[in-house]
Amino acid sequence: MVPIRYNIRSLLVRKVTTFATAFGIALVVFVFAAAMMLGEGVNRALATSGRVDTAIVLRKGSDAELSSTLNGEQLNILRGNSAVASTAPEGGVIGEVVLVITQEVDDGSGTISNVLVRGMPAGGMKFRPEAVIVSGRAPTPGTNEVVVGRGIAGRFKGIVVGGSFDVRRNRPLTVVGVFATGGSSYESEVWGDLDAIRAAVGRQATVSSARVRLTGASAFDSYRAAIEADKRLNLKVMREDEYYKKASEQTSGFLAGMGFVIAVLFSFAAMIGAAITMNGAVANRTREIGTLRALGFSRLAILTSFVIEAIFLGIIGGAVGVVFVQVLALVSFPVMNFQTFSEIVISFKATPGIVAGALLFSIVMGLIGGLFPAIRAARVSPVEAMRS
C-alpha cells in the first residue's frame, strides 16, 4: 500500500486547492448539521415538556389543547379515580385554559406572531416542579399578573418584566416575572391566573384541557380505559410525553426533512468540486503514478491511495464544518409549532449522533467525488506516464 503520508503531503502541497474544496464540503456539512440540530432542538424542547406519569385529557375529536373544551363536571369526574396522585398540587388534576394571542415582535420590523397564553389554577406552577422563576417574582393568584417564559421574554412588545399587554379592553395582563423550565417548550408561553384569563376572554365555566398526575407511569393504561369507557365524558386521554412527541414530530420532521433535502442537493455541487480537485491531482501527478507503478505498486494500491486522499479531503471539510456549526449553539431560532400555530423558540442542539452523521456525510462526499479520478489514476500506464 502507498503510505498515507504521501496523501497528506500531497494535500498540503496544494494548499489553495485543498482549502477551496474542503471549505466547500464544510459549508455543506454546516447546513446539514444545522438542520439536524434544529430538529433535535425541537424534539428536546417538546420532549421535555411531557412526563410519563402525567395524562393530558382533551375533548374527543380534538388533537390539540387549543381546540378542546372541558367543563367543571368533567373535571370532577377526572378527579374521582384511585389512579390520581391526590397528594400532588391541586389534588393531582389541573384544568387550564389555553389561547393564542397576536403580538408584535419587538424588533421594529412590524412582524406579528402568535403567542400561547395559559391560564392555570394556583397550584399550576407547582404541578410542574421543573418550573422556576429566574427573574422577578411569581404572580399573585387571582390577579391579572402573569409570568413569561425565558424563550420569549423580550421578544415581543410588552412581554418583559414590568411590561403589560391587553387581552381584553382595559384588562391588561402585567408581567411580573420570567420563568424557566429547563429548555422545554413551556418557555415560549405566558402563564397567568386561570380565572383572570378566563374572564378576559369571556370563557366562564370551561377549560381547554386537563392534566392528571397519576400515582405512577404504570397507572396510565387503567386510568385511560376508565375515562374513555365513560360515555358521558366523551374525552380522550393521552400520555403527556406522547402528546408532545406527536406535536414535535410534525415540526421537527418538517425542519429536518427540508434541511436534509437541501444538504443532499448541495452535496452534488461539493462532490463535483471534489472530483475537479482529485482529477487535477491525478493529472498533475501522472508521472509520479507511473513511477509508483514501476516500483511495483499494484493498480489496487494506486486506486486505494487516491480514494483515501479524497476521503481525507472530505474529512477535513467535515471537521471544519462540524466545528463551525457549534457556534449555532449560542443562537436561538423561532419555529412554528404546527399543533398550536404559535411560536416556540428553539436552540440548536448538537448530539454525538449528529456529529458522527455529519462526518460520515463528508466522507461519502469525498469518496464519491474521488472515485472516478482514482479509477483514472489506477489505469495510468507506467511506461507512457514516465515518458510524458
Binding site: R59, V100, N114, V167, F266, A269, I272, N284, V335, M336
Partner: protein, 388 residues
C-alpha cells in the same frame, strides 16, 4: 486573436475539468433557484391578495370570536360594497386522505366578495337554498372523488361528531394563487347545530370589499373605530396582511432559506476559483512567455477574468435551462397538484432566474480576481522558471 478567443480556446485544453465546472455552476444555479422559488411562491399567495378586500378579526386573537351583529354594522358603512362573515370549522377528512385543508362556514355573500372563486350560477343558487350544502375547490373535490349531488362526511377538530354534507357545487380559481382545497359550508347550518353551542351567534372573521376611490387604510380605521368602545375590539387589515399573519412564524424559516441559498453560491464560487487557480498554475509558464513577448500584465488579468466569466455564464445558462425543465416543467406541476394547500402555484419566476445568472456572473468575476492578480504580479523570470 482576441481575448474571448483565447479564453475559449484555453477552456478546451482541459475539457473534463471545464465540463465539470460548468456543471457545478449549473447545479448551483438550479439549487439556488429552487430554494428561492419556495420563498417567492410561499409569499405569492399573500402578495397576490386583492387590494380591495379587507379582513377584520378579533383584536386579541384569531381564535377569539366576534358577535354576529358586527357584520351588519360593517355592511352599513358607506364605501363598503360587500361583506361576508365566516367561522373556522377545523375540517378533517375522517379517512385521512389529506393531512390538512381549509374548511369554514360562511354566509350567503361569500362568493360575492370572493368572486375569484367562480361557481356556476345554478350551483350557487342551489347552495343558498340547501342548508347542508357545501361547495368545494376543484382539487379538493378530486381528492375526495365527489361531484355535485354526492354526500360527503367530514369531521371537525372543533365541533364533535360526524358532519354530513351534500356537495352542491365546485368552485374554479380565477387567479393562480386561489386555494383550490377549501370546503365552504353554511354559517346558518353550523349555527343552528347544538354542537356549535360555544360559538352560537358568533363569527370568526369578516371579509369586506370596498368600492373604488376608497382608501383601504381609511376604511380599516373606520371599521375599527366603530368597535373600539365595545368589549370585543377588532383589528382590520389588508387581505395580504391577514394571509401573512397565518404564516408569520414561517418568516424565520424563510429567512433561513434565503441565507442557505447564498451558501450554495459560495460553494459554487469556491469551485470556480479552484478551477481557475488550477488552470493559472498550469499555465504560469505561458503567462511568462506572453509577458516576455510584450503583453502587459492587464492583458493577463483580462485573459483569466474572461475565462472565469465565460465558465460562469455558460454554467448559468445551463442552470436556467435545468430550472425550466426540472422545476417549471417537472416538479412544479407535481407540487401544484399534490401540495396545493401550501403551494397553489410553484414556478420559478424569470426574476429569480435572472438573479441567479447575475449572481453567478458576479461571483465568477470575484473567483477570477485572486488568481488573476497573482498571475499578473509574477516576475517574468519567475514565471518562466516555474515548471509545476
Amino acid at each position: 486573436m482576441n481575448l474571448a478567443t483565447y479564453a475559449r480556446r484555453n477552456l478546451f485544453r482541459r475539457r473534463g475539468r471545464t465540463i465539470l465546472t460548468v456543471l457545478a455552476v449549473a447545479v448551483a444555479v438550479l439549487i439556488f433557484s429552487a430554494i428561492r422559488t419556495v420563498g417567492v411562491t410561499f409569499n405569492a399567495a399573500a402578495d397576490d391578495a386583492m387590494s380591495d378586500r379587507l379582513a377584520t378579526r378579533h383584536k386579541v386573537s384569531i381564535t377569539m370570536q366576534l358577535p354576529r351583529r358586527y357584520i351588519d354594522e360593517v355592511r352599513a358603512i358607506p364605501g363598503v360594497t360587500g361583506a361576508t362573515a365566516a367561522n373556522w370549522f377545523g375540517a378533517k377528512d375522517p379517512k385521512e386522505r389529506i393531512p390538512f385543508f381549509a374548511g369554514f362556514a360562511a354566509d350567503d355573500k361569500w362568493f360575492d366578495v370572493f368572486d375569484d372563486m367562480k361557481v356556476d350560477p345554478a350551483q350557487l343558487a342551489e347552495w343558498k337554498t340547501t342548508p347542508s350544502g357545501v361547495i368545494l375547490g376543484d382539487i379538493l373535490a378530486k381528492t375526495f372523488g365527489v361531484k355535485p349531488g354526492d354526500r360527503l362526511t367530514i369531521t371537525s377538530d372543533i365541533y364533535p361528531g360526524d358532519w354530513e354534507f351534500k356537495v352542491v357545487g365546485i368552485y374554479m380559481p380565477q387567479r393562480r394563487t386561489v386555494d383550490r382545497n377549501s370546503l365552504i359550508l353554511h354559517w346558518e347550518y353550523l349555527n343552528n347545530d347544538p354542537r356549535a353551542e360555544l360559538t352560537k351567534d358568533q363569527i370568526g372573521w369578516v371579509m369586506t370589499r370596498i368600492g373604488g376611490g376608497v382608501k383601504s387604510a381609511d376604511m380599516s380605521r373606520t371599521i375599527d373605530k366603530i368597535f373600539d368602545e365595545r368589549d370585543d375590539q377588532t383589528v382590520t387589515m389588508s387581505e395580504r396582511a391577514f394571509n401573512l399573519s397565518f404564516i408569520g412564524a414561517f418568516a424565520a424559516v424563510l429567512t433561513a432559506f434565503d441565507l442557505v441559498s447564498i451558501v450554495i453560491l459560495l460553494i459554487m464560487m469556491l469551485i470556480l476559483a479552484n478551477t481557475i487557480a488550477m488552470s493559472v498554475r498550469e499555465r504560469t509558464n505561458e503567462y511568462g512567455v506572453l509577458r516576455a513577448i510584450g503583453f502587459p500584465p492587464r492583458h493577463i488579468v483580462g485573459f483569466i477574468l474572461a475565462e472565469s466569466l465565460l465558465v460562469a455564464f455558460v454554467g448559468g445558462l445551463v442552470g436556467i435551462g435545468l430550472v425550466q425543465v426540472l422545476i417549471n416543467m417537472g416538479i412544479g406541476p407535481f407540487i401544484e397538484a399534490n401540495m396545493a394547500s401550501m403551494f397553489p402555484y410553484f414556478r420559478t419566476p424569470p426574476s429569480v432566474m435572472l438573479t441567479a445568472l447575475g449572481l453567478a456572473l458576479a461571483l465568477g468575476l470575484l473567483a477570477g480576481v485572486l488568481p488573476a492578480r497573482g498571475a499578473s504580479r509574477l516576475r517574468v523570470t519567475d514565471a518562466l522558471r516555474r515548471t509545476d
